[in-house]
């Protein structure tokens, strides 16, 4: 088994050529429930470049986590099913793979870390064995080599005394250390794509800063592309290069991170940005603290009972009859900046003025 350094080099060489590592096209994941058909992900397309960090933002029920689970082919069936679209990882369409073929991809080519490290680690297995598991499935037959690699990985993610820690159980680690162990496990086989689903939402703010720093460092060093799923706009602004905003199962806006925060074109994105309180240090020069937060009125609609036309229209200050009649086309509005809104020019003027 090659050493970590050597493997990192080969990976870097492999990723030197730019281009998309993952291409998702018109993904549709539906749930067939007693209360009717729920279109959790409804025609989502995006591509992920090698070594890039792409954030998917949205509130509960917007379909961001189901998108992630679809990519891993971990959507529970029944009630869920990927009913359409394709997800090509380096040219291989994951939608078409059977369970056995998918097992060879999952954990090796694409892997995932979850929000709550305590519930996603096995409490009765040592950290070392859990990391070895993926390695024994994909990389090596030698338990000893796998364990050595586990120690190497724990060292890489900044866990002190890795020799000792591989023998410990999850409950013996703090929350931050558990999340580090999860990252070590996810990256053990050097995947091309790492999906991080709210990786820091359960952590304290000082620990969150440590974990985000670690993910950024590993992405630089290993060249892994990262899909970061979060509801925290602060985390997005500090870690992502490109951002997708989702609402009610669809993509409503996509842009580079600087462009999106400077010129949001969808009223939902703009509403999200205006509704969060900002510390003095978060405000640009001269900007005063809001005495009242701007609310987005109403609630996220139930996916089983979506309004006709634009799904955001009932909560939108810009909504017109047109919005209530037809869902707006998803178009490129500015260079590299896409949005689905009939009134994006008005939104832009409101944000800039």
């Amino acid at each position: 088994m090659a050493t970590l350094a050597a493997r990192t080099e080969t990976q870097k060489a492999a990723t030197a050529g730019k281009g998309a590592v993952l291409e998702v096209e018109d993904l549709q994941t539906y749930f067939y429930t007693r209360n009717g058909l729920v279109k959790a992900v409804d025609g989502v397309s995006f591509s992920l470049q090698r070594g890039e960090t792409l954030a998917i933002v949205g509130e509960s029920g917007c379909g961001k986590s189901v998108t992630a689970l679809s990519l891993m082919r971990l959507v529970a069936d029944p009630p869920g099913r990927i009913v359409g679209g394709s997800m090509r990882l380096d040219g291989v369409d994951l939608v078409g793979l059977d369970a056995a073929a998918m097992r060879l991809v999952r954990g090796k080519e694409i892997s995932m870390i979850f929000q709550e490290p305590m519930t996603s680690l096995n409490p009765v297995m040592t950290i070392g064995r859990q990391i070895s598991e993926a390695l024994l499935l994909h990389e090596t037959n030698s338990r000893k080599a796998a364990l050595a690699r586990a120690v190497e990985m724990l060292n890489l993610v900044g866990i002190p005394e890795p020799q000792q820690r591989v023998k410990e159980y999850p409950h013996q680690l703090s929350g931050g250390m558990r999340q580090r162990a999860m990252i070590a496990m996810a990256l053990a086989c050097n995947p091309k794509v790492l999906i991080a689903d709210e990786p820091t939402s359960a952590l304290d703010v000082t620990i969150q800063a440590q974990i985000l720093e670690l993910i950024a460092k590993l992405r630089r060093e290993l060249g892994t592309a990262v899909i970061l799923i979060t509801h925290d706009l602060g985390v997005v602004a500090e870690t992502a290069e490109r951002v997708i905003v989702m609402y009610a199962g669809r993509k409503v806006e996509e842009a580079g991170v600087g462009e999106l925060f400077a010129h949001p074109l969808h009223p939902y994105t703009r509403g999200l940005m205006n509704s969060i309180p900002r510390l003095a240090l978060m405000r640009s020069e001269g900007a005063k603290a809001a005495t009242r937060l701007q609310e987005i009125p109403g609630i996220v609609p139930a996916l089983s009972n979506l309004p006709p036309g634009c799904t955001f229209a009932p909560r939108c200050a810009f909504a017109s009859d047109e919005c209530r009649r037809a869902y707006p086309p998803y178009e490129q509005k500015r260079d590299g900046h896409w949005a689905a809104c009939w009134h994006s020019d008005k939104v832009a003027r409101a944000s800039d003025g």
Binding site: E59, S60, S174, G175, G176, M177, D204, V205, T206, I207, Q208, A209, Q210, L212, E213, H231, D232, L233, G234, V235, V236, A237, E238, V257, G258, F261, A262, G271, L272, M273, S275, I276, P277, R278, L279, A280, L281, M282, S284, A289, A290, T291, R292, L293, Q294, E295, I296, P297, I299, V300
Partner: protein
Amino acid sequence: MAEGANGSAGGPVLEVEGLKKHFPVRKGLLRRTVGYVYAVDDVSFTIGAGETLGLVGESGCGKTTIGRTILRLIEPTSGTLRLAGHDISKLGRSELRPFRQQMQIIFQDPFSSLNPRMRAGEIVAEPLKVHTDLGRAARRERVAQLFDRVGLRAAQMDNFPHQFSGGQRQRIGVARALALNPKLIIGDEPVSALDVSIQAQVINLLMDLQRDLRLSYLFISHNLAVVEHISHRIAVMYLGRIVEHTDKTTLFTKPLHPYTEALLAAVPVPDPAIKRAKKVVQGDVPSPLKPPPGCHFHTRCPYVMDRCRIEVPALREVEPGHTVACHLR
């Protein structure tokens, strides 16, 4: 925005003095006490009428225990609690009852803090049933008023909690807390479980209620931006102790404790145009079972000195209205 403590007519609504809560740790067959968790270790503060005190800190710092101890849902180990001048820390159950009406709590999770088998109207009427002699019709009328006050429709009174969204459920929790016209409401992470767009709705509601009803809040949260927005003064806690306490403007522009500094530096900024040097504080919060000697923060503090490892820094007023517990100040 309501004035601070000084604007009140008759002294502070709540005074907490030297509050301690030590939980025994029991082990073995005989459940012998082998040690204590110092969840709250000598904490003092006051809250004036119409004022909000924000309590921030990371998990395990004791902020939730403080809230529950003030309500006497957890018995304090020692210390004094005065509600509008009356010492309530040693009152028995029945003596405490009239005071219970004056302080209420809103919980974090609107899913688990409402009884799923009760109708929303019954949930809000429950405190009225327990503490007042209002008849059924009068209660219903009061509940309808409360629903209107928190932005719910009176027609929704007969619905069950599962028929409401997360934000609406939190509104039911607020209505229940308001039912008895309390002076003090303790909010234990009241918006943390809500979606961003809904958070703003509930924060605005709480601030409107404070303005109109002159409520006092103890607002417990780990979200610094939310705490800054809603509070007048803020106390920062670390492992059971208050390490810094001042008005919100001073805390965020001139933090004096290294832990406050670390917290502020760690908050992700939702604006990619603002670049700042990131100083990520290393290490984990130590276990409250075995807190480090001296200053609890010394294991992670970038300015640590020998003295910090031995001597507990006292909470001193270094500038008028700004107290901090650090040997450097």
